[in-house]
């Protein structure tokens, strides 16, 4: 390390925790992340770039590798290959620097059930190197911010799921992190608690921190994130703003039910990769549509010009499965081309 680099390192070291990192304007930068557990490849080369102060959502089904990415970026797990920098620091070499600048809220509440809310926060504050008085003050401030002041005196074991999640999030903020990782923040919450949590996350985003969240819900990513990456089977298959992704994935699906198996085969053959949904028992295949009368009419005429292959149709809201099918299908096409 030459003198210049050392000086930069030193500046970064003494910089206050909530100051933006020196450098690229990227809070998270990952390239070629690969991870296998035994023989199972969980990540097959993931690249990510998350600008400072933005909200980034990693959208994917169970088992896509979302949690593994979060664990690698938050220094808890080492990638087999690839590089990642968070808040300007390498997640392996400078993991201690990274840890001072991030927080992680996982799928399981990281709280002590038999401690009160306030005690949990004070403990996290002390572990984040706050002096006793400051830790108490910070705990009280966070309880108020998260609407938990009254509950703060009660043991966490008595909390509802939504309160627990809010306290967990509050606990992750004691050290004033500049990058916040939220792994499936709303999983298991009822709709009302989810709305409340979304408002909290929006408030955090407005305060200028970088938020990296994972979710299985298109709606959640759409509502919260500036940019979304879609992860399927350990690869990013699409990335962009919600609007960009929606343009690639129709929001509706046209289900076509055929009178016979032969008709279904003919329709499927004609549509090829455009089929985003299959239900062979009901002799049904689905294609993407915007749901407008004009497009539905055009699609029916195009697929079944002789009016004998399709017995019935229905327009449905696309599910996340359709999105993945469409995106992974497109990804395959690109790969073939």
């Amino acid at each position: 390390m030459n003198e210049n680099q050392q000086a930069v390192h030193e500046i970064a070291r003494v910089a206050a925790v909530n100051e933006p990192p020196v450098g690229t304007g990227l809070a998270i930068e990952a390239s070629g992340l690969v991870k296998s557990y035994r023989d199972v490849r969980v990540l097959g080369g993931v690249d990510l770039r998350v600008p400072d102060g933005s909200v980034f959502a990693l959208l994917g089904p169970n088992g896509a590798g979302k949690t593994t990415i979060v664990r690698i970026l938050s220094t808890l797990t080492r990638a087999d290959a690839g590089l990642a920098r968070v808040a300007g620091f390498d997640v392996v070499r400078d993991r201690h620097e990274v840890r001072r600048r991030i927080s992680l809220t996982g799928q399981f509440a990281a709280l002590d059930e038999v401690q009160t809310g306030a005690e949990n926060l004070r403990m996290m504050g002390r572990l984040a190197r706050l002096p006793r008085a400051a830790a108490c003050q910070r705990a009280a401030g966070l309880l108020e911010q998260f609407d938990l002041t009254a509950a703060g005196r009660r043991r966490v074991g008595t909390y509802s799921g939504g309160m627990r999640r809010r306290l967990d999030l509050a606990a992750s903020l004691v050290g004033r992190p500049s990058v916040i990782f939220l792994d499936e923040p709303s999983t298991g919450l009822d709709p009302q608690s989810r709305q409340g949590l979304w408002q909290v996350i929006e408030g955090l985003a407005a305060s200028g921190v970088t938020i990296f969240l994972t979710t299985q819900y298109l709606e959640e990513a759409d509502r919260l994130a500036d940019r979304i990456a879609v992860l399927a089977a350990g690869r990013v298959v699409a990335e962009g703003t919600a609007a960009e992704l929606k343009r690639r994935v129709a929001a509706r699906r046209l289900d076509l039910t055929c009178p016979t198996q032969a008709a279904l085969d003919q329709v499927s053959r004609y549509l090829g990769e455009r089929v985003v949904y299959r239900d062979p028992l009901r002799l049904t295949a689905g294609v993407a549509t915007d749901g407008s009368a004009a497009q539905v009419r055009a699609l029916l005429d195009e697929i079944d010009p002789d009016r004998c292959l399709i017995a019935a149709f229905a327009v449905r809201d696309a599910t996340l499965d359709d999105v993945f099918l469409t995106l992974t299908g497109q990804a395959k096409e690109t790969a073939h081309a």
Binding site: S74, R99, L104, G106, A110, Q115, E119, R126, L127, R132
Partner: protein, 247 residues
Amino acid sequence: MPDSLIMAGRSLRLSVRSPEALLTALLLPVMLMVVFVYLFGGAVDIGTSYVSYVVPGVLLLCAVTGASTTAVTVCQDMAGGIIDRFRSLDVPGVALLAGHVIASLLRNVVSTVLVGAVAFAIGFRPHASVAGFAAAFGVLLLFVAAVSWLAAAFGLLVSAPEAANSAMFFLMFFSYASSAFVPVRTMPWWLRGFARHQPATPVTETIRGLLLRQPGGLPLGTALLWCVGLLVVSVAVSALLFRRRTA
């Protein structure tokens, strides 16, 4: 304040907040002492009052039951989400474990005082000087630290808290197959070799010798060597296990 002390404060609070577990850990040795003195003691002829003989052994049982709490709490921490939060706050694994061990030491001070008080009430009369008491207490605490850290390593090794609790039975076996409750010479010949050459015997005999001011040499050196050795190995093994569990 170092992380280990913050973690010790947390562990103590968790202990106090689980009164059932705490009461079991505190009362079990007292009950066992009463059982030994009044049920088995009459059948044991060791030449002196059995309660005086058995108190050091009961203190070892305290250490063992206390240590099993350590195994369970370490195991629970590793199984839950909180370990990730601690790690992302850059709390070293050794500080987390040290916190559990320090809490175990403090719990043991309480149970030792309790056992001592009940023992005194049923006829235990130590003859030690202040220095002798201090030395006996020191040896006991070193033993508690060693078995607690061993239990912490066990807690890292197993995946379920129920399994962690079985640490107590392994450790209890060592207390029973020693001179803690009956003289080794009364055991079958094949057990004597084991009983003489395992940590519980020199530790018990050192504490007993110090408390009762017995004539003759104490196996103090052997006791200290066992405890320090066990402690060093347990710290090293648990550091390795922690790294493996969190890889």
